[in-house]
């Protein structure tokens, strides 16, 4: 296990060094990514200017959800690039090479690239989160700060799990299915606002089928002290990030199933 982790960091180190070679390009792309993901929050700000609140949630409270889910997504987006490109790997038959090596395939695919320019989204989400922490009328304690971090990490695991599942589909379809973007990118869009504002079918989908509500909404209830009337038990508010980890573990099991099913395209 330790050996695998060390190997992963070797892989990542190589990837980072190669990206740093194009410094100007890296900077421009990061700034571009910062801006294009940041306008999302400008849009939210404009709406709050007109409407004041959304179902009793203030801008600062929504900003907490926004910050957590976007940090989570940026981490997974940066680490799962290999899975994103996996369809090409199956198509070209390059996956055969990974099978020959005596290390787990998930590790090798994950280690292909750490996409550094995703720091753009990460940075803007962190700024929004820090602003929210400052603007909120909440007494921060070590426990709530830890829960915020855990929510972001749990969310990152969940999104990683989704990307792994999307890639796993390529074992059967040879192409990565774009329709999964609906739940990844659409999931970010959804979870930027508290889940309680949506219609029941969407709420049920993002708690039961894909536990995205765990990412931002349940922990946010605990952090903001809104848990009382929400009907969500405290254990779930505090333990919710674990659901993200569980989701990733299940996804990795499905991945293994896919590997067993793999037949090379032969090209």
């Amino acid at each position: 296990m330790l050996d695998e982790i060390r190997l992963y960091f070797r892989y990542i180190g190589i990837s980072v060094r190669s990206q740093i070679q194009y410094r100007g390009s890296f900077l421009m792309m990061s700034i571009g990514h910062f801006l294009i993901t940041g306008i999302e929050f400008v849009g939210i700000w404009i709406l709050f200017q007109r409407f004041g609140n959304i179902r009793g949630w203030s801008l600062a409270e929504v900003a907490l959800c926004y910050g957590i889910v976007n940090i989570a997504f940026s981490i997974s987006d940066a680490t799962t690039r290999g899975f994103d490109m996996f369809g090409l790997m199956v198509k070209s038959g390059d996956f055969d090479r990974l099978l020959l090596r005596p290390r787990s395939t998930a590790l090798q695919v994950a280690g292909q690239e750490l996409t550094m320019r995703r720091i753009g989204r990460f940075a803007q989400a962190l700024i929004v989160l820090l602003w929210s922490a400052h603007a909120l009328d909440v007494a921060w304690s070590p426990a709530t700060i830890a829960l915020t971090g855990a929510a972001a990490l749990g969310g990152a695991c969940l999104f990683c799990g989704l990307f792994v599942l999307q890639a796993t589909l390529a074992f059967w379809t040879v192409e990565t299915l774009e329709i999964v973007n609906t739940v990844t990118y659409g999931g970010v869009e959804t979870a930027q606002f508290p889940l309680s504002i949506y219609r029941p079918w969407l709420r049920r989908f993002f708690t039961g089928v894909i536990p995205l509500a765990t990412v931002s909404y349940f922990p946010a209830l605990a952090i903001l002290g809104r848990g009382a009337g929400s009907g969500v038990p405290p254990a779930l508010q505090w333990g919710a990030p674990l659901a993200g980890v569980a989701f990733l573990l299940v996804a990795l099991q499905v991945w293994k199933l896919g590997v067993r099913h793999y037949t090379s395209t032969g090209s």
């Binding site: 700034i31 849009g43 007109r50 659409g186 504002i197």
Partner: protein, 263 residues
């Protein structure tokens, strides 16, 4: 005129082949639109103060946006990018065509074809089930069609400018993502422009971007009176011409300093 028309129609027919991508895009956009509608619904239920648009109008606006998303100049043409990177752009210069209008024709096809593929099913589904209203009147319909034409001319001009910028930033994304950020927010795609703070309105009215989304969509639903079409269309055309002139100038300078490395 003929060769440019031929380029446009050939490109258009090529792009129409990507039906599977269009189907996947359709599903994503449907889901996206549903989320946006629910967010606005929640906002409207949270306030009693008067808003610049009614909830019904916002719903129509959102579905129009999902139907016509591909029309927006929010990305660059990867083929042009590849031409510049590989040096094959030199062949483009050899052709007995004006490079600007050649690329402009390409850009136009690229903005129209995917939009057509996605717009039709979206109009049907959203119109039947999801609250997309028909145009306010026959006059509004007419004004909408004219302004869509203006929006396309403008969109192709901005797209071409982004493509030309690739001659400088070989890495691509830099200039392109800056422009697309401006386009997406200032055209009214993220949030309809009437919701923007009052102090921003006169700036937004001056800039070219409202001609892409805000103007055609609000004409469609009668939020802008159809009688305004003359002034609005002139605004779209004036910006298109200004962008064409500026881009041609930039392109001339770009080709003068273009160095194609061998190999």
């Amino acid at each position: 005129m003929t060769p440019y028309w031929a380029i446009l129609s050939a490109r258009f027919r090529t792009l129409l082949q990507y039906r599977a991508a269009a189907a996947a895009g359709f599903g994503t956009q449907l889901f996206w639109g549903l989320i946006r509608v629910m967010i606005f619904e929640a906002f409207y239920r949270s306030t009693t103060s008067a808003q610049p648009m009614s909830y019904q109008e916002v719903v129509t606006y959102i579905w129009l946006g999902q139907a016509l998303l591909a029309m927006l100049p929010w990305n660059y043409d990867r083929d042009v990018h590849a031409l510049v990177r590989s040096g094959n752009v030199a062949y483009e210069l050899l052709r007995p065509l004006d490079l600007y209008w050649h690329w402009y024709a390409r850009a136009m096809a690229w903005r129209v074809a995917p939009a057509v593929l996605r717009a039709l099913p979206m109009f049907i589904v959203a119109g039947l089930f999801l609250g997309l209203q028909p145009p306010d009147s026959w006059a509004s319909l007419g004004a909408w069609i004219i302004s869509l034409l203006g929006a396309l001319l403008l969109s192709a001009a901005i797209t071409t400018l982004i493509n030309i910028s690739l001659m400088w930033t070989i890495a691509g994304d830099g200039m392109a993502s800056l422009v697309s950020t401006l386009v997406v927010i200032l055209s009214g795609m993220v949030v309809p422009l009437p919701f923007f703070p009052d102090w921003a309105q006169s700036i937004l009215n001056f800039l070219p971007f409202r001609g892409l989304v805000d103007v055609p969509f609000r004409l469609y639903m009668g939020h802008l009176p159809p009688g305004d079409i003359l002034g609005l269309f002139a605004h779209q055309l004036a910006w298109t011409l200004a962008l064409v002139a500026a881009s041609r100038h930039v392109l001339r300078r770009g080709t003068r300093r273009l160095v194609v490395q061998g190999g």
